[in-house]
């Protein structure tokens, strides 16, 4: 009994903490990095007062948020108002369960990993909708409505992009998808090359799905103040913030896994395994490669934010329904032909 308790309850809990705690730290550092990068792009300094180079700014902000009062608006729905941030956060954290960090480092090697991810990401929108409705505020409700319409539209495009990946890899398991991108041609064996338009669509849809600029109509500071979280303060607001940033990092990891070969090295097959020392290490895969790729992808989020003005509502809908979805549907057929005529080499994994 005690044995089982340790094996079936305690170890999974420790593994979960091993993912969630670094994720929360990563979110804090990502917020700092975002403010720094956008500062540089605006030719200013960014945060530089708290800690060396301002690196503790994010933690100072967290402490500030935690000790602020959480205000309940009049006539707001008390139960749903406090439930909404949690409903938003739980799927954002739960989705990390199926992410393979390297060949062996994965919490749950589920067979239907992609379906699980789709299920989790599609549930995140409930937090936003419920927050918008329960706040008893017009701006919040408008933000929630916009967000619901946007997330549903872009989810379709994202799903179709994943269909292309599934067709090529022949599996719904994330580890097998990464292994299918192994081969002797280095980074040209990854799926970004045969699925280039789909890669672009997937990442842009991911930006839209996480309500980031230039798709942040749900917040839209200049039109509806702050959208769905306008009434939230203190730690409740911090939870929304955490969920949004955890989702951004998740989309970066997923793009790296689906299209950029996950933990595989970009030099795979070009460097023989018996080369001396660190040179052979460059050719071998490892979680460090996944982190580098995800870091680059997450940098695009910040770059987009500093570069593009916000889309109008009708422009977002048009881009999703009339541009992305048709291209993604067409590429499903292209991927099918590529697979049928064996034009893409599919690795079997190490």
């Amino acid at each position: 009994m005690a044995d089982q308790l340790i094996n079936q309850v305690m170890w999974p809990l420790i593994y979960i903490l091993c993912i969630v705690l670094p994720l929360v730290i990563a979110v804090a550092m990502f917020v700092y990095w975002e403010r720094k990068v956008i500062g540089w792009m605006h030719v200013r300094m960014g945060p530089n007062k708290v800690g060396p180079g301002g690196v503790l700014q994010a933690f100072a902000d967290v402490v500030k948020l935690l000790i602020k009062e959480v205000i309940l608006p009049t006539k707001a729905n008390r139960f749903l108002y406090f439930l909404a941030p949690l409903i938003g956060l739980v799927p954002a954290l739960a989705a990390w369960a199926v992410i393979p960090f390297s060949g062996k480092m994965v919490l749950s090697n589920a067979n239907a990993g992609i379906l699980y991810l789709l299920a989790m990401t599609s549930m995140g929108v409930y937090g936003i909708i419920i927050a918008g409705w329960a706040s008893n505020s017009r701006y919040a409700l408008l933000g929630a409505m916009r967000s619901a319409a946007q997330v549903i539209s872009y989810e379709l495009a994202m799903g179709l992009c994943l269909v292309c990946v599934m067709v090529l890899a022949g599996s719904l398991n994330l580890s097998e998808i990464v292994n299918a991108q192994a081969g002797g041609k280095g980074l040209f064996d990854w799926f970004w090359l045969p699925l280039l338009p789909v890669f672009v669509i997937y990442f842009v849809s991911g930006v839209a799905e996480t309500n980031r600029l230039p798709f942040d109509m749900a917040e839209g500071e200049s039109e509806i103040v702050a959208g769905f979280h306008v009434e939230y303060s203190g730690s409740a607001f911090a939870l929304f913030f955490l969920a949004e940033y955890a989702n951004m990092i998740l989309v970066s990891f997923l793009s790296a896994i689906f299209f950029l070969g996950g933990w595989l090295s970009p030099l795979q097959g070009w460097i023989s395994a018996d080369a001396p020392g660190w040179i052979s290490w460059l050719g071998a895969g490892g979680f460090i490669w996944l982190f580098i790729k995800a870091f680059v992808m997450s940098f695009f989020f910040l770059w987009f934010r500093a570069t593009f003005p916000r889309y109008r509502y009708d422009q977002i809908m048009r881009l999703g329904w009339k541009v992305f979805i048709p291209i993604a549907i067409a590429w499903v057929f292209v991927a099918g032909l590529l697979k049928y005529y064996d034009l893409v080499s599919i690795g079997v994994g190490a």
């Binding site: 749903l80 589920a110 067979n111 299920a119 599609s122 929630a144 619901a148 009708d314």
Partner: protein, 218 residues
Amino acid sequence: MNPQTLQIICFYAFSLVTVAAALSVITLKNTVHAVLALVLTFFSAACLWMLLDAEFLALALVVVYVGAVMVLFLFVVMMLDIDLEKMHEGFVKFLPVGVIVAIVMLVEMLGLIGVWAMHARDLGADPAAVAGMSNTAWLGQALYTKFLLPFEVAALVLTVGLVAAVALTLRERRGARYESASRQVRVDPRDRVRIVKMDAVRPTPAAADEGTAGESKP
């Protein structure tokens, strides 16, 4: 604790939540709460399917119903202005009808189970486990080989439904304003703004007094 006992405990826990949530869908006074209870019903039904190793069905239920259909439903219900008291008046009035429908359904279900038991139909072992692959892979292969025709017919029926829904609700409105994206892109700045080159000359005081341009006056 062996896995089977745990499975049974999970089954009863999930079914309890499912039934309780389904009951609260029809008894809760607030419509938004009722919709959220329906979401919970779907979710715990998906958990039940997951217990049966039907992972594809369970996740598809969450993706399609919880993730898309119910979001739109919630969207609509939030916009409705419903008089809750009036809605609740009908509850007692229509209760007998509801009870009769429920009893008929129960009898039908019991009959079905009875017929099933009489024929002693054995479902056999899980075909996916027999074939040695995951439930999702087996389902995919069965759908696209053995059941291809019914699958395609179902897809066709759904497409017809989609087209019909669009055809029923699409109507041309007069005077509706919209932006044509291709027209916006094709706009030439020269059609909108005229740039006039002028020499930087200082007009003589006499000419300024006569003033061809009256708006320069303060």
